[in-house]
Amino acid sequence: MAKVFPLHLRGPQSRIVDRMVSTGMADTPHEAVETALLAFGKQAGLLSEAELLKALRKEAATEPIGEGEHVERTRRARGARNSRR
């Protein structure tokens, strides 16, 4: 159930969003707000670890990765790790 509404942020909330984007924690302000809400939900006890994982799995399922691609991407991530040693 998607919620769409205009969001006007000022002061510290606006700075938090800017910092989340500038430090790379989120790619866009929209993503930053989504992440912040999930983090708040987790911290405030509104969201369990299982529910958080379910949300992540649901998001991943919107763009599924085939088995061959999955193996290749994992190999690439590992390759990057080994090349940094």
Binding site: M25, A60, R78
Partner: protein
């Protein structure tokens, strides 16, 4: 005995909800299983999700892993530390050392009692103030 999870298992736990890895991670979140993950593995998982699902997704998931698994510096370091600690306990402090410790504490304890005994007294109490 904690389960050591690799990058592939952690990635599959999200990408393949029907996999064995997903079941293992579900048990970890439910507190039924302990998991250990090393930092390089966590970085690999973060890189995978960062590249393919976005940084925020990667951050949310790796934060969850950090909250629910024991994160060690690196697998090799952890194993080396554990082996060194085991060698240290076994090789440095044995039964003979234990006997020596007992003897030393008996000698030091007796000396402390004698130091605090006043003339005419049989035992001394350090809590007693000077006369």
């Amino acid at each position: 005995m904690p389960e050591t999870l690799g990058a592939d298992a952690l990635i599959r736990a999200v990408e393949r909800p029907d996999s064995e890895s997903a079941r293992v991670w579900d048990h970890v979140l439910a507190g039924e299983l302990e998991a250990t993950v090393d930092e390089p593995t966590l970085r690999e998982v973060e890189r995978f999700f960062s590249d393919h699902r976005g940084r925020s997704f990667a951050w949310m998931y790796t934060s969850q892993v950090r909250r629910n698994a024991r994160v060690v510096a690196s697998g090799a370091d952890f194993a080396a530390d554990a082996r060194a600690a085991a060698r240290g306990v076994a090789g440095v402090y044995n039964r003979r050392d234990f006997a020596r410790s007992l003897l030393i504490s008996a000698v030091v304890g007796t000396a402390l009692v004698l130091i605090n005994v006043r003339p005419g007294q049989v035992t001394g109490n350090p809590a007693d103030g000077p006369d």
